[in-house]
């Protein structure tokens, strides 16, 4: 009788046990993060014990698997940045205009159809996009860009841009739709058109959400692997011309993983150094985005 009473009043051991299990699952995400950062730092420290940090960040040649090994990360970073730029050149204008259109102009029924349809763009597996970049977009570009090699940064960049559009448009649109109606109505009452309202009132008010959308798009483009590994070639080259082939940080990791490098060698460690660089660049953009968002945040 007494034990039952206690059970009703307090938590049973089983409840506590379940709560502990759930808590373990919740806290595990931190363990995962520590695992990622830990292994990247650990293997990279092995790399940087053999290669000076200065050579790594300032060298313009990346040939770690050659007999005459050079460890300058700049060509890979350059490839990553250029492909990302090409992608953003497509995704940011298109994504933003589509977002404004969907949030301010489109009727409810149009939006309900277009939004899931656009999300298809990001649901297509990246390896399929890689196929498009290499075998559809690049041959198409070759018809009017003279001397475009089969591997180039332009085609994969454009395809990547197509893939990123929904990331930009969907989040931006959510941010714009979160702006209360009375703010728009104030603008309409002053005689502004929809476009004037959208550009001068809605976009500035939603700018923190739109920045978040851009940052997400940039992160996706920086970390995209298969499209560039298939379409841009695997040869690191220090160039800013998007028509040339180049390897990105991610493509280099894929290239090394396809071979059979011994565990613990400098080639093996170099992919972790490349991964760490990628993570730092992504993190840098995310922090910048966070600061921008804080500065421009407007609450309603």
């Amino acid at each position: 009788m007494l034990r039952r009473g206690i059970r009703i009043l307090g938590r049973s051991p089983f409840e506590l046990f379940v709560e502990a299990l759930l808590c373990l699952a919740g806290v595990s995400s931190i363990v995962i993060t520590l695992g990622i950062v830990g292994i990247l730092l650990y293997e990279s420290s092995g790399f940087f014990s053999k290669v000076s940090v200065w050579e790594f960040v300032s060298g313009t040649e990346w040939t770690p698997l050659f007999a005459d090994a050079k460890y300058g990360i700049l060509p890979l970073v350059c490839g990553t940045i250029i492909t990302t730029f090409v992608a953003l050149f497509v995704a940011i204008p298109m994504g933003t205009i589509i977002a404004i259109y969907l949030s301010e102009y489109a009727s409810h029924s149009v939006r309900e159809i277009v939004k899931p349809a656009l999300e298809l763009l990001s649901a297509v597996p990246t390896v399929v996009y890689g196929y498009f970049a290499l075998l559809a977009v690049t041959p198409f570009l070759q018809t009017f860009v003279p001397n475009l090699p089969a591997f180039n940064m332009l085609g994969p960049g454009l395809v990547m841009g197509l893939m990123i559009i929904p990331y930009v448009s969907s989040l931006s649109e959510d941010a714009m739709r979160a702006i209360p109606m009375y703010i728009r109505e104030g603008s309409y009452a002053m005689g502004a058109t929809k476009l004037q309202t959208a550009i001068k009132v809605v976009v500035p008010s939603a700018i923190s959400g739109i920045t978040a959308a851009f940052i997400l798009g940039i992160s996706r483009a920086l970390g995209e692997t298969m499209i560039v590994a298939i379409g841009a070639g695997l040869q690191p080259s220090f160039t800013i011309d998007p028509r040339e082939p180049a390897a990105t940080l991610t493509a280099y990791i894929v290239q090394v993983s396809l071979g059979d490098l011994p565990h613990g060698g400098i080639g093996y460690q170099s992919i972790f150094a490349a991964g760490l660089t990628l993570l730092l660049i992504t993190l840098g953009f995310n922090i910048a985005g966070y600061i921008l968002r804080k500065r421009f945040r407007e609450a309603y």
């Binding site: 379940v18 709560e19 595990s28 297509v124 390896v127 399929v128 075998l135």
Partner: protein, 470 residues
């Protein structure tokens, strides 16, 4: 805007009244507005059209591989070059009882280089002897060395590098339709009557005089793209191990990520108090969702493969993808739980339910379809994910399936594997265009898989929206 207009037209101002200027300004602004609306609609259409065109190219490149197939022996191997492939037909002509091997026409390659086009024109529909470079086996092509009109109409002796048959032309290429080979099946221990009309592979003995003494006769079975193992020949390669691998990896991913993600989501929403720890976890999960997938692969390579020594099998792959999907599942769970209004919880507590009972009988059932939607979208991403599996060293040439046995029920977890996207990547990377067709076909299968998962999620979400009204 009206001010600018008036500035620009200062000279005309005297001639125009205030109201016509305003009307013109409004008209202009409305026009710009309309143009923008059409631009927006146009860009949506453009993006979707480009996607449709690209998918169209994928279908155009790959559809023939999906429907076509080839013949293999019962053990799954292709006939060797020492064997002849054809249809076994009874020889009913001129009273003799015997069997014929009827072979499919061969396309003659390089005929224009080796042979004179004009002479070939004269030989159309005549019996010719083709001396060829490659032994004509299961291949549909022969490389011609020389070609002569037949002098004696009887078969004398069978030579592997000589095909006698009718020359014909189809579209731009030359073909030879071989004469049926008379066979002597007395040495073969098969019920040849049952094989009549069936595709077979035969090997012949040393005696090359006609009829050919058949040493072995094996029935062939048709095998399509889905049932074939990978192969060095593009036409024979298939995606059976890739499909099996994808499904097994997906099962492992699902079993690991979904329960774990739901548990973490429930804890964060229902149990965790608002303190620095939950705030940290929240930020952390949002950041984890943005980590590039290849970084997950590096983590899996460094920690799972080498540090924990899990090997490069299906378990490691499933675990890697499960970790990658976990933030998506957690966020979906939290969102679904947050949508449940507080009065549901309070009503449950008021009836004397404990926290666990509330979660078990109210929170979880009400949020389940939302959780499922998010999980399916996460898993569909896992199916198409390539990069992290390449880093852990998923092999691309896997001509076997993982073994299942009752004595070691979990051995398949350690088995080497390949998945659809990796198989596709492997085929894309080859210079031979025939493999690109395989890649397109694999891409179509992959797309159908991921898009149907997404469609299920979208339908689920729509139904959920209509059904639940708090």
């Amino acid at each position: 805007m009206p001010n600018e207009t008036s500035l620009n037209h200062q000279q005309d101002a005297s001639m125009e009244t205030e109201s016509t200027r305003m009307v013109r300004g409004i008209r202009r602004r409305k026009l710009i507005d309309l143009i923008f609306a059409f631009t927006g609609m146009g860009l949506v259409t453009l993006a979707l059209t480009v996607l449709a065109l690209l998918l169209g190219q994928l279908v155009r490149d790959g559809h023939s591989r999906l429907t076509s197939g080839h013949f293999v022996k019962r053990d799954g191997f292709a006939p060797s070059i020492r064997e002849l492939v054809g249809q076994l037909v009874p020889n009913t002509g001129n009273g003799k009882v015997g069997w014929l091997l009827r072979r499919e026409p061969f396309e003659i390659i390089d005929a224009s280089d080796v042979l004179d086009e004009e002479r070939l024109e004269q030989l159309i529909d005549q019996q010719v002897d083709l001396i060829c470079d490659l032994p004509p086996t299961a291949s549909r092509f022969v490389e011609a060395d020389s070609l002569e009109a037949v002098i004696d109409s009887d078969f004398v002796r069978f030579q592997r590098d000589r095909i006698r048959g009718r020359l014909f032309r189809q579209r731009d290429s030359w073909w030879i339709d071989p004469l049926p080979l008379p066979l002597d099946l007395s040495e073969v221990d098969v019920d040849s009557a049952a094989q009549a009309g069936q595709p077979v592979a035969i090997s012949i003995g040393l005696k090359r005089d006609f009829p050919l003494q058949v040493r072995t006769l094996e029935p062939l079975v048709f095998q399509n793209f889905f049932m074939a193992m990978p192969s060095r020949e593009a036409e024979r390669a298939g995606i059976k191990p890739a499909i099996v691998g994808s499904v097994l990896v997906l099962i492992v991913t699902m079993l690991l990520s979904v329960p774990f993600g739901i548990a973490a989501g429930i804890w964060l929403e229902e149990y965790g108090r608002k303190n620095w720890l939950t705030a940290l976890i929240e930020i952390n999960i949002a950041n984890l969702a943005g980590v590039p997938s290849i970084i997950w692969g590096l983590m899996a390579l460094g920690l799972l493969v080498y540090y924990f020594g899990l090997g490069r099998g299906i378990l490691t792959a499933g675990l890697t993808l499960a970790l990658l999907v976990l933030p998506i599942v957690i966020m979906a769970t939290r969102e679904a739980i947050r949508a449940i209004p507080n009065h549901i919880r309070e009503a449950s507590y008021a009836c004397g339910a404990t926290k666990l009972q509330t979660v078990q009988f109210h929170i979880l059932p009400y949020s389940l379809s939302g959780i499922l939607t998010g999980s399916i979208i996460g898993l569909s991403r896992a199916v198409g994910e390539t990069a992290p599996l390449i880093t852990i060293g998923a092999l691309t040439y896997i001509p076997f399936l993982p073994e299942f046995s009752l004595s070691r029920p979990f051995a398949w977890l350690q088995s080497g594997f390949t998945v659809l996207p990796i198989q596709m990547f492997n085929w894309i990377s080859r210079p031979d265009h025939a493999f690109h067709e395989n890649a397109a076909a694999a891409g179509m299968v992959l797309l159908v898989l991921t898009l149907s998962m997404n469609a299920v999620a979208i339908v689920l979400r729509c139904r959920l929206r209509k059904k639940i009204k708090w």
